[in-house]
Symmetry: C2
Subunit: 338 residues, 2 copies
């Protein structure tokens, strides 16, 4: 590998090298008329009245993992934050922090993954920035994406909007992303059976928003902290209790096995292609039907109910008939999962 | 210093520790109704029809430097990118990548600086994200900010909008930011006389936009790569030549001295509180008057002219009467300056 194949400090200096890196390795994959103005900011007409604006940084280790890479994740994570507000994603920005010595070929591959995920729902990357830090001051590549979307004025999904009696649904098996990353990081044997679920959720969310209208109360993507953190957020924000049945929670045998080996609870493990859906009880069957018709939601299942008992608390009804309160994970179990 | 005073990996895990860090160290300084929804994305009405969207990551080393810190820089850099499009800044997002072991007190100080700069022009930080990487995988703190602003439909400032005959103005002395950072990094003696010019440019830009209207052609902040890179961008985008007089370029004695010692050209050194202004020749005097009435623009001066000679090239008329073509800096001279 020659020096030309690796990121140099000068690639972040804002001069000739930066321009060349962007022109050769970044812009081609992201090609669109707004970005091509190549100004320091993107100008465009407001895509709608009710805007949704979000940001996320991605530091996942390793950069490439079974089922995706940091580029897929950086697009999906931010696009999904918009979708979880009921917002159609329109635009992304891309902030790169590269470590000196990172392979240019890997950068191209990551940008291609990011572009593919964004373009799959017609989202354009309209502005970007590239910085380079010295060897030993980074993790190969860190990515920030910010996203801008638009939501219908009729949408009222919000984490505080859960109501006693509501159905709690997950849109598929849980823990896949976290265990895929962990397995690659630890070089575990069961690696081959584990694959991240990283995916753009909007195509699954859009028909749900349209069909359920105001009966759809909460959408939440169970990323860091897993389903447990998502449910704790909902219980706290809505001052309701949440009860889920362990038996109903879908987990693949591979994730269950890996979690057992590492002493992790799948409920606490990150997902990047799933949603927790809370809706009015009378809409629950319709929600499941709609979700199961989409490729991402084919394993959707109801796992529990919102209750006015124990406000603020999430309670698991265990497989052996007991009850256990789920606490917000401390956050130490799975560092750098996204 | 106890462990509680330092950033831990768990602060980035998305659980209890992350929530506590945000609630205690980040949210209080940024307090506003949109952020307080504490959802994964911020929802608000579109602040105008013509949106401007930008992103920037900040990796400056050292984190604290004479005249500011990475927080000041992270606010000003992105707000100024909006202002340079003629856009009034409205909203910021804040993406933090913290290194395990970074002092919590330093984080609070940085967030305070960022909030002060944003609030000085009524901008709110409406969404954020916090990640933590292991010791030796970061630089203490890296910050990404994305910004959303609105520009008047009558504004046509654009880097390609320079026309032969236009006046080229800089709004004050150049090279201050870059040399302040370099001096602190290298522990140079002349450090005391050097201070970054980092500042929010909108209060200087707003009256200029209003008064000059379509006679204002280009606004560009000469950050990485300095005035040279800004002028090269203009010459290339507008397919014009730019001629500047070295004698007219304002440089403090301290910056001149430090540049001499380090073998740097002040024209290539980063600024964070200056603008390059290109306007119709008949508006040049008015532009200078307006700029000089603002605190940030009091040393504004015309340094040159756009020409139809040598399209794409920037030519310096030297103090000794010669001519020298200025090339886009390679980008290697001053790494991690912002």
């Amino acid at each position: 590998m020659t020096n030309q194949d690796l990121i140099l400090l000068g690639h972040g200096g804002g001069g000739v090298l930066t321009h060349r890196l962007i022109a050769e390795c970044i812009a081609p994959a992201l090609k669109n008329p707004i970005l091509e103005q190549m100004d320091d900011a993107a100008c465009f007409p407001a895509p709608g009245r009710n805007l949704v604006f979000t940001t996320d940084s991605f530091v996942v280790d390793p950069v490439f993992f079974p089922g995706g890479d940091i580029g897929t994740l950086a697009a999906c994570g931010t696009l999904n934050d918009l979708a979880m507000q009921g917002a159609k994603p329109f635009y992304l920005t891309l902030g790169l922090i590269l470590e000196e010595g990172f392979p240019v070929a890997d950068l191209k591959r990551v940008i291609r993954s990011l572009a593919d995920a964004a373009h799959s729902i017609g989202v354009q990357v309209v502005a970007g920035d590239t910085k380079v830090v010295e060897r030993g001051k980074g993790g190969g590549i860190y990515i920030n994406t910010s996203g801008l979307g638009v939501r219908s004025p009729r949408t009222s999904v919000h984490v505080a909007n859960a109501k006693p009696g509501d159905a709690v649904i997950v849109t598929g098996t849980i823990g896949d992303h976290g265990m895929a990353v962990m397995s690659r990081r630890q070089g575990l044997e069961f690696e081959t059976a584990l694959e991240s679920d990283v995916a753009v959720l909007w195509p699954m969310v859009e028909p749900l928003l349209k069909a359920l209208g105001p009966a759809l109360h909460v959408l939440r993507d169970p990323t860091r902290g897993g389903v447990t953190a998502a449910l704790c957020d909902i219980a706290e924000a809505a001052t309701c209790g949440v009860r889920i049945r362990q038996r109903a929670v879908p987990v693949t045998p591979a994730v269950k096995g890996a979690c057992g080996l590492l002493g992790l609870d799948p409920l606490n493990v990150a997902n990047e292609g799933k949603a927790v859906v809370v809706c009015a009880p009378e809409a629950a069957e319709q929600a499941l039907e709609i979700l199961r018709r989409t490729p991402l939601g084919k394993n959707a299942v109801r796992i529990g109910t919102v209750t006015d008992r124990h406000p603020g608390a999430v309670v698991l009804e265990t497989e052996i008939g007991g009850e256990r309160r789920l606490a917000m994970p401390a956050g130490e179990e799975l560092p750098r999962i996204c």
